[in-house]
């Protein structure tokens, strides 16, 4: 079974600084997707960034970027120029399609990292 591990229960950063959240996963599959989701106190799960395992290039979305190390099964999120609105719980998640193709599969989530942003 696939597992996702986030070893940092809490992280903090000063506004405008950079912070990196860590994630490792365990899988025997070669084709899968990795995600970072943000969950503010409102509980709405918001997609931050997605990485396809077959792509060697690290995904980037504005101030958010990832460091995807497939061999090491590591997937970290870097937040640059941190803003107060970035404060939330962040979840790393893994998706592998079942035999039926990408229609079928489930997201497996890590335990989450609470990010605090100090003004």
């Amino acid at each position: 079974a696939q597992t996702v591990t986030q070893s940092q229960p809490e992280m903090s950063v000063q506004e405008a600084e950079t912070v990196t959240l860590s994630c490792t996963y365990d899988t025997s599959e070669s084709d899968y997707y990795l995600f970072w989701y943000k969950q503010p106190p409102s509980r709405q799960m918001i997609l931050v960034i997605r990485q396809e395992a077959y792509k060697q290039q690290n995904a980037t979305e504005n101030r958010f970027s990832v460091n995807f190390q497939k061999a090491a099964k590591s997937f970290s999120l870097k937040i640059s120029d941190s803003q107060l609105g970035d404060a939330a719980m962040y979840f790393c998640a893994y998706f592998h399609a079942n035999a039926g193709g990408t229609s079928y599969g489930k997201l497996t989530f890590g335990q989450g990292t609470i990010l605090t942003v100090h003004p």
Binding site: Y33, M45, F91, T102, S103, Y104, K106, L107, G112
Partner: protein
């Protein structure tokens, strides 16, 4: 485009009572998911529908939980009877038919069982 809708947002019940949650997915999304998120943990998949058929319900406690998706659109998740350990946030998500990795989440229902 309207997002995934869920109701109610909050529910407090006593143990052994029953409760039902409702979800309306994004229009055109064939796949619908129910996740359970216990406080301080990541969401865990309970059940997945493709149109009105069940794809995966391996993590659903079938002795007390049931779910249905009539006409392949709205879905209802029911707990009967509720236990204290069912206190959690119940998240509904939906995705397009061939892109199961592209899941959009609703705001969730926070259930407290006393």
């Amino acid at each position: 485009e309207a997002g995934v809708a869920q109701s109610p947002r909050y529910k407090i019940i006593e143990k052994r009572q029953s409760v039902a949650f409702w979800c309306n997915p994004i229009s055109g999304h064939a796949t619908l998911y129910w996740y359970q998120q216990i406080l301080g943990q990541g969401p865990k998949l309970l059940i997945q529908f493709q149109n009105n058929g069940v794809v995966d319900d391996s993590q659903l406690p079938k002795d007390r939980f049931s779910a249905e998706r009539l006409k392949g659109v709205d879905s209802t998740l029911k707990i009967q009877p509720a236990k204290l350990e069912d206190s959690a946030v119940y998240l509904c998500a939906s995705s397009p038919a061939v892109r199961g990795y592209e899941q959009y989440f609703g705001p969730g229902t926070r259930l407290t069982v006393t």
